[in-house]
């Protein structure tokens, strides 16, 4: 088991894709996410995030993504290959 260090992850919400259905907020086990006035999710307690990706899995519109430090590099590699 990899050790989970809360607080090193970033939450990205793509508002072009998001339909403000509230599934990610309902499923977040650490209460990281909260809804803003327009019901879009935002990371209220980012320091609690444990990278479980339940929000990603339950997002029907591919709008939310958790970025882990090592994976930031991986994504950059993938994007570089594509370009």
């Amino acid at each position: 088991m990899a050790q989970v260090t809360p607080g090193i992850y970033e939450v990205q919400v793509d508002k072009n894709f998001c339909k403000a259905c509230g599934l990610c907020v309902a499923w977040c086990p650490q209460d990281v996410l909260a809804e803003d006035d327009e019901r879009y999710p935002f990371a209220l307690h980012l320091e609690k995030c444990i990278n479980c990706k339940l929000c990603e899995r339950h997002c029907p519109d591919f709008a939310i993504e958790i970025i882990a430090p090592s994976e930031v590099l991986m994504i950059e590699d993938i994007l570089a290959e594509g370009a």
């Binding site: 509230g22 899995r57 339950h58 997002c59 029907p60």
Partner: protein
């Protein structure tokens, strides 16, 4: 394991078509992600995967996914997929249908695809209602479920796809829900391994039409209810116990019944089962058998010519 969302979008979807036209919170998007991940984990080349879909909300999925896709006529997706598989047996064929598409208008085609045991993965998304046309009663609406055409509750007996698949001769049957996303991906992976007709029924949500009339207007409440409504089977125990054909919840074989019955009084085993329900051992895909037969006939002809 979870594939990064941006990777799914870039590799397996058509980003120009997104965001989808589905309502906010619709489980179809979750299913789309699960299919992409299952194909990724199986290591299949996406140019060697074909997705065939019918008409309905679910039918739109072929427009969003970046496989070889066909959007066919209403209910005829298994028929088109049969032709595709026979012509190109090396291809992995995914057939995506809704409950209205698969069980009402296309029930006939589904039965015969199962009878032939043609090698495809049929994904039947069951949301208990005709979503695209305005929430009419569908063949899977549970007894007592309120829809726009059954204002005081449906009293028709819902269709049991599980029993149909057993009798018609499908090779594999699994039931997943959009709540249990990890097992949804795993079950689609298992179905991709099967030689023959593999059916995955996915219980999805239509909170906009079905949920609104059944005290589950929020997508999160309706999806969360699936956890209580369903019971995870243990395939090993099932095999050991030599259970006869055992139908899940008699009133409502394959739909969330949360709003309709008090779930506290329902025994675990009487709830809708999820997981692998049955798998027929030693099943061989029809296209494989067909090309084997062709090979044998050609060999016999060659031998006969040499004799002459």
């Amino acid at each position: 394991m979870k594939v990064q969302t941006s990777f799914i979008v870039k590799e397996y979807l058509r980003p120009k078509m997104l965001p989808s036209t589905w309502c906010g919170g619709c489980g179809l998007g979750i299913i789309m992600g699960a299919i992409a991940q299952a194909v990724h984990f199986k290591g299949l080349d996406k140019d060697n995967v074909a997705m065939v879909s019918g008409i309905g909300c679910t039918g739109r999925m072929s427009g969003y996914m970046d496989f070889n896709t066909i959007h066919t006529t209403h209910g005829r997706a298994p028929a088109f997929a049969t032709g595709l598989k026979m012509a190109r047996p090396e291809m992995t064929v995914l057939t995506v249908m809704g409950d209205g598409d698969a069980m009402s208008i296309g029930g006939n085609h589904l039965i015969h695809a199962m009878r032939r045991n043609i090698g495809m993965v049929a994904i039947v998304v069951n949301n208990s209602v005709y979503g695209l046309t305005g929430g009419q009663t569908s063949p899977t609406t549970p007894i007592g479920g309120h829809t726009t055409t059954a204002q005081s509750g449906s009293f028709e007996r819902p269709m049991n796809l599980e029993a149909l698949a057993r009798t018609a001769g499908a090779a594999f049957y699994a039931r997943a829900t959009v709540n249990h996303t990890a097992s949804l991906t795993k079950l689609i992976e298992r179905a991709l391994d099967v030689s023959g007709f593999a059916l995955v029924e996915i219980i999805s949500n239509c909170h906009v039409l079905f949920g609104k009339m059944n005290q589950m207007a929020e997508a999160s409440t309706m999806i969360a209810a699936m956890d209580e409504d369903t019971w995870r089977t243990n395939p090993t125990l099932l095999r050991r116990a030599h259970l006869p054909i055992r139908l899940t919840s008699p009133e409502s074989p394959s739909a969330p019944v949360h709003a309709l019955t008090e779930m506290d009084d329902v025994e675990d085993e009487s709830r809708t089962w999820r997981g692998v329900i049955f798998e027929r051992k030693g099943s061989v895909d029809l296209s494989k058998r067909y090309y084997n037969m062709l090979g044998r006939i050609r060999e016999q002809q060659r031998a006969a010519e040499e004799m002459v």
